[in-house]
Amino acid sequence: MKFLCTAAVCCLFNLATLPASASQDLSTPSISEIWKLVQAQQLEIEKLQNALAEANKTAEIAEERLDSTVDYVELISRNDFTEPSSSASNRTSVGGYGELHYNNIDTSGLDKNSSQADFHRFVLFFEHAFSDNWQFYSEFELEHALSKDTADGTNSGEVELEQAFLQRALNDNHYVRSGVFLLPIGTLNETHEPPAFYGVERNDVENIIIPGTWWEAGLGIGGHYSNGLSWDFAAHTGLETPVSGSDAFRVRSGRQKVSQANADNLAYTLRGSYTGIQGLALSASLHHQSDISQFSGDGLGSANLLTLNGSYIWDAFSLKALWSQWNMQGALVKASGADKQTGWYVEPAWTFRVDQKLAGIYARYEDLDAARERDKFDQWEIGLNYWPSDNIVFKMDFRKRSHDGGPEMGRDFKAVDLGLGYNF
């Protein structure tokens, strides 16, 4: 009984003191409780820090993987033949150019009037880098849109292999090449993409006197230097110029186009150029043929072609000029008066912008004295080029040709030409 009374008193005491003790714990935790709380929070902070570090690491890995993926995607999506590990297909480049012409020619002889459209040239370039130093270049062309078999072997078009050569870079400044290549003469023979020149048709001097496009097979070597000087030398097959018929002594008719070409007598071309002054380009080339007809004793022997050309570009204004002359040896060619064949032209031009796109107007005067009567003339030409982008051009021009023999020949004409061209 005494035990029960004592227990009851204790319970009452505890009940009386409990509210006061509880309120004390809620307002002021004990030091040990605070210590436990800090330790728990520290553990939580460490967990969060570890999680953040893991997240950062994962983000870094993801970033690296993304970079690697993008590198790889970019590598396989472009022709990166600069990479040593690139496949053979990635080391092969394809390019090309083309030009569509419309010519409306009004001649002094009414029977020679003409109006025609012609896809004059469709060209594809195939180039391959065997290594950093060994390169292959080629140019494959379809002229006049159509080539077909005919009974007499004539048709309006041609399929031509104008370039196919291997080039070895000796260092950054020197090369040696062998194969079929364009001769380093004049302004257009090597660079004739339509956006690169004025006029729907190429100038006549570089068609009749310099028979461009002029390609031969052989060996070439050259160099260029930081002072703007450069040189090219080539030993190659030559022309087989006819000595009779309506095309007698016409050098353009002598092009063999490396098609089972007669290589009895070779030819040599040397060019020196200077471009060391901003906007200025000067060039001189000497071409020698040991026998331009390829046959000895036919009255047409050796021949030299000297060509001088220059251009100056200053801001929107440019001026281009070229002079070229053949000197041929042989009794027959001298008797015919075709031993000296000369042509020159001068071409000022001025560019401006139309709606932020480039346009240019030009004038050209040409004077030719070649083998055939029809190739002795002077010609005025004015025209307009419009480039909606660097690689696309629209052209129009007006030409007036007067032959040295007078209008009674019926070949004098006035012409309007329209054209478009591209390269890629």
Partner: protein
């Protein structure tokens, strides 16, 4: 007569090929990566600039396409920078093959433009200072044109056009980067690849 010619050309061929094979590897052109690294070191005075990547947003991709005449071949453009100086490296086709060109820009204007690797068969004139000097201190107008005319080179038209496109593209990206930098920090890239 012709036999003399043939002997001459054969001798010339073999002489040239002998000379070609005799050139040591050191005489060969350095790879474009070596040239690029040298260009970066020279432009930043041998300090190590930060290599960043500028991801091409749709407006930037569109602007770059207008300038280059073709869509950019990458999702982002890597560049080096330090303060207000940036350096960009592009591969741009002149005639058929890409020309590797480096552009160093200070305060929004071209300080140096240099051909790091030339692979075309013609148009080599753009490699030299008598041509590249005229790009110095040139900027970009709001109409995306260079602030000064560039005199071309007869016979190197396509290479000249390629270099002008690259100059415009670098200035455009430098400007775009500056606009982005005011709002969003660019992300440094981990590897040291300098080619875009």
């Amino acid at each position: 007569m012709y036999r003399r010619d043939l002997v001459l050309i054969y001798l010339s061929t073999f002489t040239c090929l002998f000379l070609a094979s005799g050139f040591t590897a050191s005489a060969n052109a350095d790879s474009y990566k070596e040239e690029s690294a040298r260009f970066v070191a020279e432009m930043f005075d041998h300090a190590t600039p930060q290599l960043n990547a500028l991801w091409l947003s749709p407006p930037m991709r569109s602007g770059l396409s207008d300038i280059l005449g073709h869509a950019p071949r990458s999702l982002r453009i890597k560049y080096h920078h330090a303060a207000d100086r940036t350096l960009w490296i592009f591969d741009e086709i002149g005639k058929v093959k890409p020309i590797t060109i480096g552009v160093f820009i200070e305060a929004g204007k071209i300080s140096t433009i240099r051909v790091l690797k030339f692979r075309e068969s013609r148009g080599w004139e753009i490699k030299y200072s008598f041509f590249t000097d005229q790009f110095q201190r040139i900027g970009l107008t709001q109409q995306m044109q260079l602030t000064a005319p560039i005199d071309g080179i007869t016979g190197a038209t396509l290479s000249v056009a390629a270099m002008k496109r690259v100059a415009k593209a670098a200035l455009f990206l430098d400007h775009s980067r500056n606009k982005i930098a005011t709002t969003t920090p660019t992300v440094p890239v981990s590897n040291q690849m300098s080619q875009n």
